[in-house]
């Protein structure tokens, strides 16, 4: 039942964009709006459920993209595959992507459960770097300013043991830039400027691979 609600809500989200109407999904279910409140305490709670699902769907897609590269030592190929998976998922689910990474809803404060789901995609990306460091293909850039080092050490201890902070930082920068380029395209900032978007994205992610230090 709550799965059916989520499915219809996702359909509405895809069709109409961010402003999801409880009454509309209730109408589509042949129910009255108040009946929804049996299953979700509020619209925010429904959105939270969709957000968590979205993070996992994106994480799955990115992990699958990485997994398709058979040569696991081809770090650059894995990086590019994962980045393209991010972009492909975003283009296929623009409304959900906007829900995850777009402007936060004013009154809405993301509960804890979303932040743990949010970490799935960067986990895949930085996992590629972790593999590279473990095999000796990547080295520690070792160029972090002091205060940042402390923050990243904590993140490392929580999620990525064995990865040096400076390398983790490179991966985080790469992830944020991937997010930036995808959002730019998806939110219409490239309209009328760039047509060859997949090629341009690929080019940019290759430059990010250079920045991270992934061997060619």
């Amino acid at each position: 039942m709550i799965n059916e609600i989520k499915a219809i809500a996702r359909r509405h989200l895809a069709a109409e964009g961010a402003n999801l109407s409880l009454r509309a999904v209730a109408r589509d279910m042949g129910m009255v709006s108040s009946a929804i409140y049996r299953y979700f305490a509020s619209r925010d709670e429904l959105l939270t459920a969709l957000i968590v699902d979205g993070y996992h769907a994106l994480g799955d897609a990115v992990a699958a993209g990485d997994a398709e590269v058979t040569d696991r030592t081809d770090l650059r190929g894995r990086w590019l595959a994962a980045c393209h998976a991010v972009r492909r998922w975003a283009l296929a689910h623009p409304a959900e992507y906007a829900l995850l990474f777009g402007s936060p809803v004013p009154g809405y404060a993301a509960p804890q459960e979303t932040t743990v789901a949010a970490v799935r995609t960067p986990t895949v990306l930085i996992g590629i770097l972790a593999d590279g460091f473990a095999s000796g293909a990547l080295s520690d850039p070792g160029d972090l300013p002091g205060p940042v080092q402390g923050d990243l050490a904590a993140v490392r201890d929580g999620f990525f043991p064995e990865v040096p902070e400076a390398l983790l930082s490179r991966g985080a920068t790469g992830w944020m830039c991937c997010f930036g380029v995808v959002s730019f395209e998806l939110f219409g900032q490239l309209d009328g400027l760039i047509q060859a978007r997949e090629e341009y994205f690929d080019h940019q992610m290759r430059r990010m691979a250079d920045l991270i230090g992934l061997p060619r």
Copy 2:
């Protein structure tokens, strides 16, 4: 009059977030909601006016940040100053930033006037690279795939004559990554992970300067 409406709308935007209520700003002006429609045909038109203003305000702030660097040949210093100006403006005007760069409103299609205003900030950033190329401090990386080259040549001809496409591309990537990192911070994706945000931002923009090829 329309300036007063915009000012109050901006205040509401800053206070309450993205969902701007026409009736609320009318209330604050001691008017009735329908009176607003004398000055703005719709809520979208008001938002468009605020968006255009926002792009210009951000562009002004970034240009001012760049202009504060007295040594005009210090390309890296200018790049960092401009990037920090972007971040500072975003943190000072989060709701307006979200309006400009966040998820687009479903029914809303950005009219032409917004896209010409949107180009102001990248103009400043890439202007730094143009200066560097003119003085010989920057060279043409010359590493663009074919389809992208065509798109960027058109952009170059429209906005940045004399700048080679590959260098323009580097600047665009830098701008998108700057946007990505700022949005990540502003949209809450860094919450609970990074405390030393200004330092981390500075570090990341330095790495982007490396990628662009700005001399140290």
